[in-house]
């Protein structure tokens, strides 16, 4: 069934089709309409879920941690400061190996107060042990929510599905909504390995001495490593079932490219248009869309970028005192390789500033025209 849906409603449909059993969330712009739609689904009986109202995002995550421990499929959504407030509980959910799915609408952190898109909120949670998947369009958002549960319930790690504020959250597109039966087939009910059960009392998440803590961390890392392959398989399965895939990495026009631009989120769509036009002019430029940020699929990235002379990375984020975060990840991926591309790190579109085709073209031309970046951080469209 085709419907015109905003990114936030696409999230809600994905959650409904995934037969989530417990939802707990606290409203924050631009996430609010996700929660509104879900509460409507619950109220009107379209979903058989328990919707827990809470007084903060910290409590929202705490609530679904509890529900998830009982084996219930659990979901929350947030944005920006809400995600920051969840921070402690994000570590908790991952450390407890709970297959929770969270939709984060990328929004800038304040102050200055700003409700527009920026990856700073989700990338600040880089080290909490959550899988992070960045979506380009609303179809991908809906499909990724469904896939996220399957991935999470396979590797026992929580998944954050990320979508850009307004460019996706409040922009409507035509979307194919999968049939409920098909989703049921793709995503059967969750049967957890451990389930909090009064009939079989166990001690959960108690004190863990130095004797064993490190092993549990090792296991989390191993699970992250497996996730790359698991996610690939899940996407393949999804493709077989629904006829669409959303790969972790998508190279676009990278054949014989001298320069490859690395993008994530909605910047990717704009970049496609620019690259299409430059290719018509004979410019050898390609695009690599990175959907999966955690785990960072290093081998797969090497497979695409090995042998490329120069790589430009567009970051809608900044790690203060270092630079764009995706650029750092790409650099570190290659640092032990004999043959490695020169990485140009562009900072663009912070706090929701438009990343225009002209700005992307400027970045591409800079990369083409310079042997090496003249500055470690290349600011595009900055008033200086």
């Amino acid at each position: 069934m085709k419907r015109v849906l905003s990114g936030n409603k696409a999230v809600a449909y994905g959650v409904m089709l995934s037969r989530v059993q417990v939802i707990s969330a606290y409203p924050i712009t631009p996430q609010t309409t996700i929660v509104e739609e879900l509460s409507r689904f619950c109220a009107e009986g379209e979903m058989e879920a328990k919707f827990i109202k809470v007084e903060s995002e910290h409590s929202a995550m705490a609530s679904i941690i509890a529900s998830s421990v009982t084996g219930s499929r659990s979901f929350t959504a947030t944005s920006s400061h809400g995600l920051a407030l969840m921070h402690e509980m994000l570590h908790w959910a991952a450390g407890a190996r709970l297959p929770i799915v969270l939709a984060n609408v990328n929004r800038a952190m304040g102050p200055g107060w700003n409700i527009w898109t920026d990856q700073g909120d989700s990338l600040s949670q880089r080290d909490t042990g959550w899988i992070q998947l960045y979506c380009e369009d609303n179809q991908e958002v809906l499909d990724t929510i469904i896939q996220a549960f399957k991935i999470a319930e396979t590797v026992y790690l929580p998944v954050m599905v990320v979508l850009d504020a307004f460019f996706l959250s409040h922009t409507s597109e035509v979307i194919e909504i999968p049939h409920r039966e098909e989703v049921d087939h793709f995503l059967p009910p969750f049967e957890p390995q451990y389930r909090l059960n009064p009939k079989e009392p166990r001690s959960y998440y108690g004190m863990c001495s130095p004797d064993y803590y490190m092993e549990f961390r090792y296991k989390m890392q191993r699970a992250m490593e497996e996730t790359v392959e698991v996610a690939r398989v899940v996407d393949e399965e999804f493709g077989r079932q629904f006829g669409r895939t959303h790969s972790l990495l998508e190279p676009y026009r990278c054949e014989d490219a001298e320069v490859v631009m690395v993008t994530s989120g909605t910047v990717t769509s704009t970049s496609r248009v620019v690259i299409e036009r430059l290719r018509e002019d004979g410019v050898k430029v390609g695009l690599l869309k990175v959907k999966m940020f955690r785990p960072f699929p290093k081998e797969e990235i090497k497979g695409v970028l090995q042998g490329v002379e120069k790589v430009g990375v567009i970051d809608r984020n900044i790690s203060f005192g270092h630079g764009g975060i995706f650029a750092q990840e790409i650099r570190s991926t290659f640092c032990n390789e004999d043959e490695r591309p020169t990485v140009f790190g562009f900072i663009m579109g912070l706090g929701g500033r438009d990343v225009t085709p002209e700005a992307i073209e400027e970045a591409i031309h800079y990369t083409l025209d310079n042997h090496r970046p003249k500055e470690e951080i290349l600011w595009i469209d900055l008033k200086r």
């Binding site: 407890a96 190996r97 026992y156 064993y212 549990f216 699970a223």
Partner: protein, 581 residues
Amino acid sequence: MAGKIIYHRESEMPFSPVSSGDMSWNRTGTWRYIRPKYEDKTPPCNAACPAGVDIPMFIGLVGEGRYEEAWNVIREESPFPGVCGRVCFHPCESHCNRADYDEVMAINALERFVADQAPPLEPGSPIRGRREERVAVVGSGPSGLSCAYHLARMGYQVTVFEALPKPGGILRVGIPSYRLPKDILDKEIADIQACGVEIKTNARLGGDLSFKDLEEYEAVFLATGAHVSRKLNIPGEDLEGVGSGLDLLRDINLGKAVHVGRKVAVIGGGNTALDAARAVLRLGGNPLILYRRSREEMPAFDEEVSEALEEGIEIRYLIGPTEIIGLNGRVTQLECIKMELGGEDETGRRRPVPIPQSNFTLEVDTLIVAAGEEPNLTFLPEDIRVEAKMVSTDKGARTSRKEVFAGGDMAHLDRTVAHAIGFGKRAAISIDCVIRKRGVTSVLQGIRVGENGTLSMAKYLSEIARRRSPHVVAFEELNLDYFEHAERNERAKLPVPERVTDFREVSTGLTEQEALREAVRCFSCGVCDGCENCYIFCPDLSVITDEGVVKYRINYDYCKGCGICIAECPRNALSVEKEAK
């Protein structure tokens, strides 16, 4: 408990820190180092009630509209809810913790409300099995009838001997009917008879009835009151037109024709003086009360004084009579002297000292003396010891003669109806203990409420009665977050012009709406009323609702001893103790 598990490699470990086996051996209650427990404590009102009425319990039932059950709660301790609900000096209210919050509970009014709803009691069997032992009670005042009532409920064969033609003692002949209507008294005496008490009137000990006649009884309880009016010991007391307050009230109450003059002086500051003056007013006289000390030292109840003042009765303080002057054998004048207050006397009140040359005279045609009462003890055999003009008794109401007990006004200086009821109850328990050969002292110790001599019959009769610690709950120990401010509901009174024309009851009592509103004001200090706070707040779901005498219990398998239940209990009905490890 399983032994410690050692993992040698990560592959043997679960993927998250979850116990590999069943943890039911490790109930989280083992974390506890303090242990909360349900422990009802003593409400200050209950401790202050000489009759020992379980006030929060009956008020709680009123609040639920369960009036007959409330009545039964009161009757567990006292057979006179209707009487006390009118004439008690309600020390319970003076001790009510609500005083520190807004206004004290209208306990006395609620007691009357409950009694006024109650139907006449059907004759029934005693609450314990019938016993063959016979007990004689001499005097049918509040003390005698209270003792008789409790003994009859315990199964004894009780006969009450009353000197006057009608039973009730001071309630019958001392208290005017504008304070205690006779039908109310009749109804409660009938209820006592329905419990199996036999009352023989016109049977005066020392008259038709002799001490010898009482020897056939297993025990005798003497409660003949204090009906001898104290003399002023000044010249002229034998003049015509001079009489005692007690005689005046007795004659009015027994329906005799009474004549008072226009200018009536009443000497005294106790309830008898006030009642006599108010009765005179209703008979058409113009009473003037003369009291030798100040308002502060006046022993009359505040309510009586303020009602007398409302009715326009003049009270002159610091005036003592010195001589009654007559003409042709009839009183015409009263010579008085002005007083000032000196040092404290043996009662702790400041002593009145005459001011020299301050004498003056008042024109009077009737003089009523109400300067205190004493018991008549002339009928007592010599072996019953008397001290300070009262029968000497021990804590168990025992006199110096075996099997003879005494109580009420003839044995005590606490001469209120509530005290008399309490003394009667104490004697009944003591008599039961003596007959059943139980140690009186330890029994009385075990059933006390607070430290003022109040006893609980409910505790005495029932092994399963809710135990209460003797600790009296203070205002500071309540959690006020759960109480709302609410105005006290006052009883209405007849307007003064209506009330002074006859002996109609002055107070009209609470309506049902008022009583329900009033009942929910009760803090229920120290007594669990099932408010559910502990149940709601327990973070470990360890408060279990129960059907027993206490409405909750704690599941110590899982209670971690956080103490939230104690903190959130509005009324201090939980206590904490250190966990014995």
